[in-house]
Symmetry: D2
Subunit: 395 residues, 4 copies
């Protein structure tokens, strides 16, 4: 049944999501730590496809090699038992005090070197577990005070770090790509590469730019008031949507990490429509994992944790169903045409037409009646109403 | 005297700034139209270096050729008399109803063709007047409703437009570069290329990417809650700060276009320090026009308009003076060192060091004492306090 | 049929909504002016119950008495023909340049006196047309610069104005109440009485506080990132929800005035549930007009205007239907109980219990096991998922 | 010397400010716990006047009576030695998991009863230590999901709690007033009484309204994009500024708790001008403690903590000095008059004038020339520039 999640849906969860003990800036943990092995089994039972992890989620910071091996072995066994895969891994460069001014861009060079080593160590494990994507969220790369961080030098170091790690992955033969995860602020006052746009621009400057894409997170873009579906569209357009973090956020405020759709529901609809249908395009635009990076609210116990995990998948499947119906509705097809949405795919210049040809075309300027062309409406409100009615299953 | 503006300071103003009649979404104009010739004379008298314009600022939309020639002649004469230059020009693709769904990315192809022609026509005039930079603010390129705009198709058309116009400029031999001006929203619900980052990323995809940079505006980035000085640093780092729009904004709300420094004063200090001193770098980072794109408040009459124009320049010069004193203060130099700000310029890997060398360095991991290195503070609050005391001239 | 609007639904529209010619800060009008008489007929045809107006919507600023009488007569005739009522009226104290620093709180006393007169004149007309509510939106009461407005003096003048006008209404025997409409900013940088809370607090200081309530607008509260349903709940709790402005807004940005539900859809659901069902309470919480104060997007022509008007009513009715189903669902009832939502209605102290009794109750402190009571989850995520599934008609 | 803090300046600090161990949502503590006794001595040495505390800052949650007495004794001794006073105290109803859905408004009645008891217990200690103000920050009173909290019932319980506690204080003869501290969100998605306005409105509904005022915090209002100086002016106007929390915030984002002036510097200037000079009024508007509720950045060690504490006081004194110079400048006096700022103190109606008199005054309407009166500018930009130049000590 379409609304029952299955591995074919490619739903994945971070160990740190269902495993979040719900400690927040003003409160102590409300839930006990969750054994990653239990997380694997539960998520498998709910229909997930895979799990992802930060090094420290699996192996506590500072654990010795024996402990490390033991933990990896248990985890691997759980994966084998359940069939879950690990399509993505990442590094924690933000919890320990040593990273208080960042990892790759800490003002302290010793920290930067340690950060590189910490990532390399986890790249080995990620490769061993079969991860194809390695995410980098530089949550501590930034600052609060404008004169305390030389941003251009920081970007130099950021580039040095990413290119060095890309070299490393290439040299080791790991079939792995990187995905940078932007965020505008929190925990730092301002984080470097604050939006999908800034990350894409940075990537274009890398030596190994072809190996590096983005991992946008719904709430992170919405914390800057940006349209998430627009950001994803630009990432896709630039061939850089290597991974995605799904969740919910209710506007510009602290990072809420709600369940997908529990924030801006209409934009979640547009997002799923884009991923699944390519929007007006009609072909799926993304085939990677549907990764949930959310936090079960601090008010919930473990029953609520698993309910929230299930809610994420159910929301995705509902939105997918609604988006499919929207695209299939003949009235929508007609409304899209009336709004000339598809006409935007037609190049502005005709095939072979040069700017000189355009200059020679009086219909484009000399005989163009701006007032007349400006008069008819685009019918966008009607189209949006149709979309919302499909979202609400009112048609 | 340092605080008296002179053409050497390269201050420029848009005709539409001092000429804004102060009509807003809830109110009628409170000021009479301003003759561009008068604007030129007044701005020259205040110490400005140049003026900039949209085609329609100078020549009303739909004017015939005779009127156009007459207006250009008067304007050119005023420039000659005053010595003001025109370093930048731009196109109005947003006021007339025909552009209600955008210019380069309107769903209506006829509008897109007309938009190209309108720009080409003004490129000729811009070249004739000596402009080296041509700004593109796509304020109507966007939408309110997620299903009404195929964002990927829109970016295709945007690219087509910019590349076509770059071709045109090259073919005509105009010594001109383009600068895209990002804005997150207003007048559209969401505008394409909403931040400096998104514009830089888009530019990296252009055929003529080397001819295209950005023209960031203080308030536009701050409308997304982003740190403007950080955005400028990234634009500089990518070699793309082709022009800049200076003004003020008080947080995330409608576009206020206040005087420079009349919004986030501390960030304005960091900005001028970056432009003039390169921040910690010590060398100016930008040598283009200091362009004011602001609106004299609707409460002001023409006396207030000219007072506000003067206030922009005075704020810039005051901030420049304060930033110079900040950089020259020995206690600041010491505090910067204590905060390891300069250390970020040192590459993380030593010259010639490979990742294999790093892996072989036990001080970077095996013998690294994270707790000990994480203990000392960075002294950032003290540094910020020093900056603010220089801004306040309290040292 | 429940989704077909009828006068029994009490839907009302401002003349300025469907009549907005779509001029915005960056663009000229895209639609011709709409004759109020035509608006009345069209809205009646769509199923509306009434219309509302600013004085200047009906009678252009400065019209002479003969013109005024003629316009009122035509309008009254249209009302009679259609059966539409005028439950609310208001004054335009923001469009004309004379109000550039406000009406009731302009620094210029002459303006304040004129503003009072303008309101009194329209109160007479409002009474004549049968309005029971008179709205005051002080969109120009505020400032951009902190030292330019003595806020305490401004609040004195605001109070003087409202109390004087209340006196006037009482003396004339008009059966009319006032409703203040808060907004945080735009067109002023900061507007006085920026939120529902500030307006309610101000009202508590009035001599005629019993005659004055609030007219909250969805987008205005959301422009400050506030939860609109929460604000309405507080207004209801304080007995002050005298009127309501329904529309949509997509986050903290300029005032969008979208169709209801075209912004934050989930919060719109909560709002309608509160108005219609009293939330968990089970009884309607508001019986006044459902007033739409929105703007048909500038991309639309008159066909789109009427489509958007209809969309507002349809969204309301759909949300009402969904909210009714939500409240009727036994699983929801069970989930609400599990979340202890109803338990909050039970007073914290038992009937007759004093604080001394509470001090003597060891179960409240001495024997209270905080760890044990803190352990169970509240099931809020499940409850929200149920709400969203009803909103999406997925149950 | 005016810039050296002394007890006469009435600077106070929360124990939890300098004592914050710098644990944040993404990172572990970077500083060791600080002994309250050490805090008292250090703050005294820096020139502070007093300290404030949450019950749990002084006495760990769950400590037995003997431990409690021992801790109070040590603390009292330190106060005696240093001469510091305790003008304010408050309760922690947010850290322990039992408060995960709030204290006074938890859906769980048992929690509400426990919360009341916890407050009563600390009221006794506050009275014993001489506190005149008792702050209530309801950081957990709120929700994330609109249907999970009956807001009207929550306000009933909130009122019940505050009135019960006021009764208690009265009955015990404690010379103490309450101050509610608003915040829009974080840690809850939406907090009840989100702004100064909402709290003032709520207070007007209390039985003991005369005993309850507000404790506004700079950053909390700015997290909603509101003008803090405006909010303080309204609180003063309503006679309800019982206490104040000074700090800094850089726009709408997570709660930053920066040093005063390290956020919006210009608004901090307006705030201090209002508190010290009553703005244009010329008389101090507030005589209570200048209380810093901030967090030393996580990047700092204890040296940085004390530097940041000193920075708060120095910023206040600098702003006070600048504001005094601003008010004393004859050009400012002239500019204020030109802007008619003082004219707003003049009632709109003349002494004894009735609305009938106003109706009979043709200069107010019939002969009023709106166009002419609307023409002159208010000179607000010049006035703001003068304020900023005083802030920057450029005059």
């Amino acid at each position: 049944m379409a609304l029952e999640p299955s591995p074919a849906d490619h739903f994945t969860f971070g160990l740190w999501t269902v495993g979040w003990p719900a400690r927040d800036p003003f409160g102590d943990a409300t839930r006990a730590p969750l054994d990653p092995v239990e997380a694997v089994h539960k998520l498998a039972g709910l229909g997930a496809y895979g799990v992802t992890f930060h090094d420290d989620d699996l192996i506590p910071f500072g654990a010795d090699d024996a402990e490390r091996d033991r933990l990896i072995e248990r985890f691997t066994a759980a994966l084998k038992e359940t069939g879950l895969v690990v399509p993505m891994a990442t590094t924690n460069l933000f919890t320990h005090p040593v990273f208080k001014d960042g990892g790759f861009t800490s003002n302290d060079r010793r920290v930067r070197r340690f950060a590189l080593r910490k990532v390399m160590r986890n790249l080995d494990l990620a490769a061993q577990l079969g991860a194809q994507t390695y995410v980098m969220w530089g949550g501590r790369e930034g600052g609060e005070y404008d004169t305390a961080k030389d941003v251009r030098a920081a970007l130099d170091r950021y580039r040095e770090a990413v290119d060095t790690l890309a070299d490393y992955v290439v040299s080791r033969g790991y079939p792995m790509r990187f995905a940078l995860e932007p965020k505008p602020n929190e925990p730092r006052g301002d984080i470097l590469l604050p939006t999908v746009g800034h990350a894409l621009a940075f990537i274009s400057s890398l030596e190994h730019h072809e190996m590096v894409g983005v991992n946008p997170e719904v709430g992170h873009e919405q914390m800057a008031g940006l349209n998430f579906a627009h950001g994803i569209a630009q990432a896709l357009w630039q061939g850089k949507l290597f991974h995605i973090d799904l969740n919910g956020q209710r506007g510009i405020k602290f990072d809420q990490d709600l369940v997908l759709g529990h924030g801006d529901l209409a934009n979640a609809f547009a997002l799923v429509d884009l991923l699944e249908n390519g929007g007006v395009g009609g072909a799926p635009a993304y085939d990677g994992p549907r990764h949930f990076d959310y936090k079960p609210s601090r008010t919930e116990d473990m029953t609520g944790v698993w309910a929230s995990a299930a809610a994420n998948m159910r929301m995705y499947l509902l939105l997918k169903e609604r988006a499919a119906a929207f695209r299939a509705d003949p009235e929508v097809v007609e409304a899209l045409a009336a709004s000339r949405v598809g006409e935007l795919r037609e190049p502005t210049l005709a095939p072979g037409e040069t700017f000189d040809d355009l200059l020679a075309d009086p219909t484009a300027y000399e005989d163009f009646d701006a007032d007349a062309v400006g008069e008819p409406g685009y019918g966008f409100v009607r189209l949006n109403q149709l979309a919302l009615e499909h979202l609400m299953h009112a048609r």
